[in-house]
Assembly symmetry: C2
Homo-oligomer: 337 residues x 2
DNA sequence: AACCATTATGTAATCGTTTACATTTTCTTT
DNA sequence: AAAGAAAATGTAAACGATTACATAATGGTT
């Protein structure tokens, strides 16, 4: 059904090689021939078959983006950055929603093995560092975003979870808080682990005990945050601040507090992470930790594509980006100590 | 570098045909041979090259999903549905963020022409109905979501914008509102056009005049809604209710109202569209129109894949799904008339 | 044991490009 | 105008799987 290169060649009265040369702007074609071929291409509406091209060139110009959950705004902002750079560099994006399941993540990695894609970008993966290194060592091109991973050939961009956790906690300490709830996301997620670690270190630096009863976890979504607070209150735990591992959960905290008549920030201070677009629009505006999500996507995609095209690399492959705590109304109330 | 079928064949001491048969569970292979081949496959870690397979089978098992903006939650919920069904049916998804530009949308459609994908799903496209029909008539497989489009071979799933606009307006009328602002998204978007049309019809049914000064537009995002309200107030327009074409803009309305000391819902009622997960978590909970986004994705993807595999079709290809107005606190205040 | 029917396996064409190499044409130079 | 260099074009072999068809092996029947 489709027009093939032989059809165009026949119509223009040349060989397929010449048509190919014209289409790919290769040198060594007479202006006259070129013109004739162009016309045939035009008239017949020829579109070179991408699969055949891929097979011959051993490239698909496609990148798999494996993400824990496409419904989380944090990830889509990163994806937007990746997509913009990919579009610019003529790459396509295969989107893989792992749905927070390691099995699905692994399954999607087969796209690398069977050469459906040239490379894979893992966003906040569930796979262990060693597993990821193993894939790279087998010769597959992978890049990681949102997790620190040292390896000679894995581009990686991340932010220091422990560091910003310390910043968040110091801010809460400065506001007079001592009983601070930490609301983790998926316990297996590295982000959760590291943010909790920062929470613990902060307590230690302040000579405060680590109290497991102040730790709860949700699923990185609104309902998870909401339920977590209800569980805490149900257990009779008292607290004056909540540090949630992301904004979605923090929003759930808002609702739960409202329902229990706890005013934010007077009775409960709330700090989230990720700086969702909505967090500055809600009331009270939510304090949160901002990461340059879009830029991270842009940077990583560019680095990865450069790597694939052998344009220099070795120099630098691991990038730490800064996060900044945005103090808004939800944590701006200073209490007496 | 990769292991090819010939390598496996050599190792197992059989022909490539036999290896292929074993791998694809074709009948007619001795248990003994099968076992030997399986072992070779196992030992060598053979993964059949997808590109070669695609070229031979003239299929890529890939669907392009063209979306106006990957950062809008409404779209990602639909995408999630599509992805879940695609995963189930062994299809891959190429994600295309058209960034609300028709040019980019058109560009991405080339993926159909060059057979990078077997089909394309257009979510709330900017292309005209005729343009979409034209693509289908050229023999390419397309499906549309979020827009009504009648065509013999285009699966389509949509909701009746005009109808739910009427419902929203009647609800606002019932609460005593007469000066109702309509906040449109991109003016070119069909959703905007139809929702506005419903707004107009509702006024007419109520014998109220259509007042252009009550119409503003944003870009379907928070800032757009925020700016729009500020423009209205700057112009000295008075109103008691805002019907925003989506929840993101409605959230911007929340912020603008707050800053101007207008309380929701007592002084201004707000209704959005899409039922973002956040809308029930903010305060006051936002009235909004719910669509079965996830299900729409699931249904359309299934229909499309069936179509591609020639499993019956003709019967039905256009689906209208119901939207329901969720009345929450943001529009639950009844004013005197 | 010879024959035929059945089943298992192998051979080679095919999918639609790109490109190394061979061949032909054009252009210089004398 | 002939010869040689340079440029344009063509031929055919890849890329790595699937599969129609040909062939070989097995099994059953007499």
């Amino acid at each position: 059904m489709d027009i093939k290169i032989v059809d165009v060649a026949a119509r223009a009265g040349v060989s397929t090689a010449t048509v190919s040369r014209v289409f790919n702007h290769s040198a060594g074609v007479t202006a006259k021939t070129k013109q004739r071929v162009m016309q045939a291409i035009e008239e017949m509406g020829y579109h070179p078959n991408a699969t055949a091209k891929n097979l011959r060139s051993q490239k698909t110009l496609t990148i798999a983006v494996i993400v824990p959950d496409i419904n989380v705004a944090y990830f889509t902002e990163i994806i937007k950055g990746i997509e913009n750079m990919a579009y610019l560099k003529n790459y396509k994006l295969l989107i893989c929603d792992a749905e927070n399941q390691k099995s699905k993540e692994l399954d999607y990695l087969n796209l690398l093995m069977n050469r459906t894609v040239d490379a894979a970008i893992l966003i906040a993966p569930l796979l262990s560092d060693d597993e990821i290194r193993g894939i790279s060592d087998q010769g597959y091109i992978v890049a990681v975003i949102g997790r620190y991973l040292e390896h000679k050939s894995i581009p990686c961009i991340y932010t220091d979870n422990i560091k910003f956790s310390l910043t968040v906690m110091r801010h809460l300490f400065a506001c007079g808080h001592r009983d601070i709830v930490f609301l983790s996301g998926y316990a297996e997620s590295m982000d959760s682990v590291e943010r909790l670690e920062g929470y613990k270190q902060a307590l230690q630096q302040q000579n405060l005990p680590y109290r497991p009863e102040l730790i709860e976890s949700g699923d990185f979504n609104e309902l998870g945050g909401y339920d977590a607070i209800n569980r805490l209150l149900g257990r009779g735990v008292t607290f004056s601040a909540v540090y949630a591992a992301n904004d979605e959960m923090a929003l759930g905290v808002y609702k739960a507090c409202r329902e229990h008549g706890l005013s934010i920030p007077e009775q409960v201070a709330v700090v989230g992470v990720d700086n969702n677009r909505i967090s500055e629009y809600i009331s009270p505006a939510m304090s949160t930790v901002n990461q340059p999500k879009y830029t991270m996507g842009i940077m990583l995609a560019e680095k990865l594509i450069d790597l694939m095209n052998d344009n220099e690399f070795a120099d630098k492959r691991t990038f730490k980006v800064n996060s900044e705590l945005l103090i808004r109304a939800s944590s701006s109330f200073k209490r007496e100590v």
